[in-house]
């Protein structure tokens, strides 16, 4: 590195319609340093990375200075020319090609023999060998990519980043799919790169890794930089404090739980990857929160419980008035509703009218017993009633769902499950991507229903929301249950303590 490498970000803001994803973020990165970037889901990490990668353009007033020059990263090509390279969470490779072809796949034209259509494979092999040796990686360049482990594929990715002339390396959750050994190997490589003077960003949710590999850490929350410190000067509690910040607690929730009546008991439920041996009880009329960072196995817990993912082990008991019986996933599903995280992926029938979306949860209610003939008029009437109750703003019940705003779409899904009126409603990020007004309405709807005896299990990445909403919170990390907090003990500290406690267990 002959030139003095530097990266300075000044006043980076990024506005999406209705949301400020980044607000005036300023920091610098130094060569020969691993800079950790932490924050909960939605804090603005990806937005920041996408700006550096040229996928998003920041608002006016933002300055990106590389090597002392102000630059504008118009598109990914420009980012590449500036030496910015990503190592992604999902390791992608062309499975039918060799290692060296994979490394150099981004620009095969460069490797064509002069005036010929053929590739100079010898030179390509040499080049790739050079990069792999620099990484201290003994991988044969002719190995087909499909026989590589995930860790080795990641090496290929890193080698690709280097051969592209990458000097600013962004590692985005690189260990998410690695084994412990591979993780250690990756850390060695990162340290190696650090000693050679690269600028390295390290984005992660695993607090342990921050302390293991990073030199300095920056925390983001709600699009703002909420902390910056050398890792040697802080501990986990301090870091968590930076990530989560203070929480405004409101106490409008009445406790309507029937503490004697357990409606759902889960024992040692285990899925393919996550969850791992989780047990809990749910009471009638209770709102139970499931708290954990992204990748902790929250959604997997729901999917495994409800039979969308395969269940390896564990028992589920369900029953009203404390009369519990063991049930299969299928039987359980007839008593529950499931609002998933991906509204467009598996929440709505986007090209269908609101009414048909709403009645999809309980079609049998409108069908004649013998022939299954539908009573469309009653469908429309009931849809209208429930739309009013949930306050879906639309012309009428025949409006196509894709034409609604995000908040109204979310309310359609809620209306759909309220129509079924299940005993338990599972909600994964019930207010994701909806505006503040709709958010409050949705919370009030949950309160109202729980007072009428419906039980809820709610996942949320927003601490404030989960604290306002829930009677009790279970904390999940790495697929395991690591803590349980009652409402009177709610505080960000107690929840974070849950996560920190687990991290300590993890070390032992």
């Amino acid at each position: 590195m002959e030139k003095k490498l530097s990266l300075q970000l000044n006043n980076i803001s990024m506005s999406f319609p209705g949301v400020k994803a980044l607000n005036d973020v300023t920091f610098c990165a130094n060569p020969g340093e691993v800079l950790g970037l932490v924050g909960v889901n939605g804090a603005g990490k990806s937005t920041l990375m996408n700006i550096l990668g040229g996928l998003l353009q920041p608002d006016k007033g933002a300055e990106i200075i590389i090597n002392g020059e102000k630059v504008k990263i118009k598109n990914p090509k420009v980012a590449e020319e500036l030496g910015i390279a990503f190592i992604h969470q999902e390791v992608a490779a062309f499975d039918t090609m060799n290692v060296f072809e994979n490394v150099l796949a981004y620009d095969l034209n460069k490797w064509r023999k002069k005036g010929s259509l053929f590739l100079n494979k010898k030179a390509m092999r040499e080049e790739v060998k050079r990069h792999l040796e620099a990484l201290d990686c003994r991988l044969d360049v002719d190995t087909p990519a499909h026989s590589l482990t995930v860790g080795e594929k990641q090496m290929v990715q890193i080698a690709r980043a280097l051969s592209q002339g990458g000097q600013i390396l962004l590692f985005d959750e690189p260990t998410a799919s690695l084994s412990d050994n591979e993780t250690q190997k990756l850390f060695e490589i990162i340290r190696n790169l650090r000693s050679r003077g690269y600028i390295i960003f390290y984005i992660t949710h695993y607090l342990d890794e921050v302390f293991e590999i990073c030199d300095r850490v920056i925390a983001l929350r709600d699009g703002q930089k909420t902390g910056e410190a050398p890792v040697s000067e802080i501990n986990k509690e301090k870091l968590v404090d930076m990530m989560i910040g203070s929480v405004v607690e409101t106490a409008e929730r009445k406790d309507v739980r029937d503490k004697d009546a357990v409606i759902l008991r889960v024992e040692n439920i285990t899925g393919v990857k996550f969850p791992k041996k989780i047990s809990f009880n749910l009471h009638e009329g209770e709102i139970l929160g499931v708290w954990g960072l992204l990748g902790s196995g929250r959604s997997e817990l729901f999917n495994t419980l409800l039979g969308i993912d395969r269940k390896i082990d564990g028992k589920v008991f369900f029953g009203k008035n404390g009369d519990l019986k063991e049930v299969t996933q299928k039987e359980l599903y007839t008593h529950v509703g499931y609002l998933t995280e991906g509204r467009h992926h598996d929440g709505l029938f986007l090209d269908m009218p609101i009414s048909k979306n709403i009645t999809s949860s309980l079609l049998s209610k409108f069908a004649s017993r013998l022939l299954g003939i539908l009573n469309t008029r009653r469908e429309n009437e009931e849809s209208r009633t429930i739309m009013k109750q949930v306050n879906v703003k639309a012309v009428d019940e025949n409006m196509i769902v894709s034409k609604l705003s995000g908040g109204n779409q979310q309310k359609v899904i809620i209306a759909k499950w309220f129509l079924k009126n299940p005993d338990i409603l599972f909600m994964d990020e019930p207010t994701k991507g909806v505006d503040v007004g709709a958010k409050n309405e949705i919370q009030n709807l949950i309160f109202e229903k729980s007072e009428n005896g419906m039980s809820f299990v709610v996942i949320s990445s927003e601490l404030e929301e989960i604290i306002n909403l829930c009677d009790r919170i279970i904390v999940i990390s790495e697929g395991k249950l690591v803590g349980e907090v009652e409402r009177e003990d709610f505080s960000k500290k107690s929840l974070m303590a849950g996560i920190v406690k687990q991290e300590n267990n993890y070390e032992n």
């Binding site: 969308i308 599903y333 007839t334 499931y338 998933t340 992926h345 598996d346 929440g347 709505l348 029938f349 986007l350 090209d351 269908m352 048909k356 999809s360 949860s361 079609l363 049998s364 409108f366 069908a367 022939l371 299954g372 003939i373 539908l374 469309t376 894709s402 034409k403 759909k416």
Partner: protein, 322 residues
């Protein structure tokens, strides 16, 4: 009242378009062809459409569910050959044999559909590949069973019962019935749900693989109905009665009828009208002496054109959304 008419028009754009196109076609034909508008000619034409139309009703369900079944004509031939082989295996054929033959025909059609359905819905195999294989298997069965000399003819009682009037009547009844099942029953609604978004359907608690299984069985039975219409015309059965290329006519009938190839949209009624249009186009081209080579070329272009219009529509509406 005026509002109601307007609403009906908005909801049935496809139907009105089809009727318009067919009217134009009839007008052209009645001007150019002598004796076109005779009772005999019209009823003959309607009966001629029946096999394609029956298969089109079945594939409408499959397409709306987001699947594909190209084995229709071959399944039709195989089931017909099975039934005719059964009927003609008796020295003296009685009415009972004919009835049992019909039942065999329908059942074997359903069985072929069941095999398709199990492979696609339960084993999660790719519909196009499964039904492509089923197409060759069914053609093979029909060829082997039909033998080199072909099967003997069945008694004319069969053709007397299933004369062109009964076939036309059957076509109207089946079309109405299947259209009602698709739009008016819980089963039909689930088919739309699955075609629109299978993941959402699953999360909504719909047993998607059971529904899909039924859809493919239904498609097989519809092919068998086409078999009955065909057997009535030629009084026997052979592998060549369901040429594999006929699936092009079936799919184009559905596509012209506005059935979305990637699922979620369409009606049985419109697909049947599409079959009329396709057979009409075939006939017109025959009459004015267009060679067969051009006929397939033109039909293929029509499918691409019809699908292209649909794609462009969705492209622009999604752009308008964004």
């Amino acid at each position: 009242m005026l509002n109601k008419i307007k609403l009906f028009g908005q909801r049935n754009k496809q139907l009105l378009g089809m009727i318009g196109a067919i009217a134009v076609m009839i007008l052209v034909l009645s001007i150019t062809v002598e004796n076109f508008m005779t009772w005999t000619n019209i009823t003959n034409l309607l009966a001629q459409v029946a096999p394609i139309a029956f298969m089109a009703t079945g594939i409408t369900f499959v397409l709306i569910s987001g699947g594909m079944d190209i084995s229709g004509p071959s399944v039709m031939a195989a089931s017909s050959v099975l039934a005719v082989a059964f009927i003609t295996s008796f020295e003296v054929v009685t009415g009972v044999h004919l009835v049992i033959g019909c039942i065999i025909l329908l059942l074997s059609g359903g069985l072929f559909g069941l095999i398709n359905g199990v492979a696609i819905a339960k084993l999660k195999m790719v519909p196009l590949v499964v039904t492509l294989s089923m197409m060759t298997v069914a053609t093979g069965i029909a060829t082997v069973l039909g033998g080199a000399k072909g099967l003997p003819t069945i008694p004319s009682t069969f053709a007397d019962i299933f004369n062109k009037y009964t076939i036309i009547g059957l076509l109207f009844v089946i079309t109405w019935l299947l259209d009602f099942i698709l739009t008016g029953t819980a089963f039909g609604r689930k088919v739309y749900y699955i075609g629109n978004k299978e993941e959402t359907a699953k999360v909504s608690g719909i047993q998607t693989d059971t529904v899909l299984l039924k859809v493919y069985i239904l498609c097989g039975v519809c092919a068998a109905l086409a078999g009955i219409a065909n057997v009535a015309i030629i009084s026997t059965a052979r592998a060549s009665m369901g040429p594999q290329s006929q699936i092009l006519d079936v799919v184009s009938a559905a596509v012209i009828g506005g059935v979305a190839v990637n699922g979620g949209k369409g009606r049985v009624r419109d697909a049947v009208l599409g079959a009329f249009l396709i057979v009409g186009i075939n006939n017109i081209m025959n009459l004015i002496g267009v060679s067969d080579y051009y006929t397939t070329l033109i039909k293929g272009s029509i499918i691409i054109f019809a699908m292209g219009i649909e794609s462009i529509k969705t492209y622009y509406s999604s752009r308008a959304r964004a």
